[in-house]
């Protein structure tokens, strides 16, 4: 039994579509307005540049009191993103605040692509590689981007 969609979600969705953020898009499903198909472009200058990453985003019942649930669908080589696409990002967990929104969260994720943090890893193997041989890790990330994150 679903309650009517809160005004906040309606407004956020409208703004996402009317004032899109460059390099980011979020499209709600027709049959479930709380479920979004998300696309984030790899930031320029990073090893993910040129990549187009697909993510899924879901707004739980108690949104915005609780953060959106979000994960990468496109494979990505990143110390803070695990094999299931889950993301280690403070604002998606304890540092969530209801004053944040879908837009700011997606920008944070894009920024995370530009600044991988192997000190707080979610993917141990990638983080290890990142710390021990950064240039090789970056190269792998570039390859994966070419391999999996191309626009089709």
């Amino acid at each position: 039994m679903s309650a009517p969609l809160p005004k906040r979600i309606i407004k956020e969705t409208e703004r996402l579509q009317n004032e899109p953020v460059p390099g980011i898009s979020a499209q709600p499903h027709d049959d479930n307005a709380r479920y979004f198909d998300v696309m984030v472009e790899g930031p320029g200058g990073s090893c993910y540049e040129g990549g187009v990453f697909n993510l899924e985003l879901f707004l739980p019942d108690d949104y915005p009191m609780c953060p959106p649930r979000i994960r990468f669908l496109t494979r990505i080589y990143h110390p803070n993103i695990d094999r299931l696409g889950r993301i280690c990002l403070d604002v998606l967990k304890n540092n969530w605040s209801p004053a944040l929104q879908i837009r700011t969260i997606l920008l944070s994720i894009q920024a995370l692509l530009g600044a991988p943090n192997p000190e707080d890893p979610l993917n141990e193997a990638v983080a290890k590689q990142w710390k021990e041989n950064q240039s090789e890790a970056i190269e792998t990330a570039r390859e994966w981007t070419k391999l999996y994150a191309q626009k089709n």
């Binding site: 039994m1 906040r8 009191m65 540092n95 209801p98 004053a99």
Partner: protein
Amino acid sequence: MNVIDSVGLSDFGAEGEEDSSDTSSALMRPDEQLEEKSAPAILAAHDDARALVRLVQCQLCSKPFRLPVTLPCGHSLCRDCLPEAHEREHVSYPDIPGRRKALQCPFEDCDEEHATADCNVDVTLNKIMEAIVDVVAKHTSIAGDTPTTMEVISSWDNPTGILPSSEKTIYHQLPGGRLIATFTLAAQGKLGYNTELNYPIESSAEESERAVDDTVLSDLLESLRKEVDCHVCYNLMLDPVTTFCGHTLCRRCLERVLDHSLHCPVCRRTLVIQPSLKTQPTNKTLDNLLKGLCAEALAARAEAFAQEEDEEQGDLKTPLFVCTLGFPNQPTFLRIFEPRYRLMLRRAMETNREFGMLMYNRYLEPQGDLGPVHFYHYGTMLHIVQTQTLSDGTSLIETRGLYRFRVKAHGTRDGYSVGSIERIEDVTLEEEERIEAEETSLPPVEMGDMVDEIARMSTHNLLEMGRAFVARMQSRSASWLQQRVLDIHGQPPSDAALFPYWFASVLPISDEEKYKLLSTTTVRARLKVTASWIRRIESQRWYAPSPSPSVQSE
């Protein structure tokens, strides 16, 4: 202090008071105002120019707010108008910088001390002032040379009591329509907060002047629109409350935020605030400003909010707490810490102080028409006797069982379960008597069959069996009948209808077994259940330890 009732209109002058008194009471009680659809008294750009400017005048310096600070009492003033802080005495906790000094509140109806740490720039009000100054600057530059004449009315509340009768009436001439000219006069410090103005009308230009003011006001509303939206619900702020760090949200939104965390959602500073916001006053300046500028939108917002609250519920009106067993007439103690249940508790406290208690259905056993659901479908309606909110926002509550019910349909609302229920009641006394007569007159059975034997006992004997068992156990100092338990649950009731509930509340056997009482519809049926427990305990020492009566939410 009741915040809602304390929202005063003292910030308005004589003119404003008349216009706004009815809307304010209507708006502050969204649930009561639905019937009264009288048009809200919005301040008109031209005719109420003086009152409009007063909305943003500092009561201390009479100038438009500059870096406004909203005090813990809900009043605002310019930062430069804050009285000088003094060292506080006799305050040793919490001894942190910013709380060692305090200032005396200059507003008469407050007159309290405010710690300097609590006096910060009101971010929303400041942005509003910046937007106003921008709009005024823009319109002043295009105003050209058609000035507005303003005649200062000698104010009857002149503190000196001396009317400047010997002098000529004071006139001011400033560029722009009434709004711009009046604001500019205030900015120049020539318009006292309580001073009234008269605008001598030059009939020829009346229409065009009116149009000028209307344009200014609509420009202003346009540029203020995004500043007066709540950061959490994205709607026009309803009953705005400002935190000590200067951030403003709807009261309802801040309440909900505090269910989850004691940090400001905007700046993440720890909020030293009562999570219930009971004593947190409304931001008076902002509230009056919203009422003066967009009373209609605000009324619509309040109405939509009330409707939303109503609609969301639909037929599933009863809040359900899936946690433990409760029994009619018996106390249940709970600690509420999950955000969703805090919200449920608050809503219950605002309405009839009741919620349904259901037992958790761990193995998803089918529950009648509902199928395998996460709760057992018979429950007890609990009445909240008292709540104590701890400093971390969690609550300890004492409840007493009212009546039993069965869940007919269920759903969720903001994370907790809700449902439509039907009451489970005992059959009529005649029916009760008929059943007893029928059962006790059955031919006797062979010894040893416990069920048949119990079925043939009189209702009175079933009760006596229970009471005798309790007396026997008491004489043996059974741990589950200690004084502490009796203090909470009382002595065994002599009322046969209630004895089983009491017995189930104190007896350490499994909850699944006790649950059988909830669906019974005769006193006799309940006593037969308790009698079967006693027989089994006596024959096998059959009972399992059970958790203490004080339980936590899931």
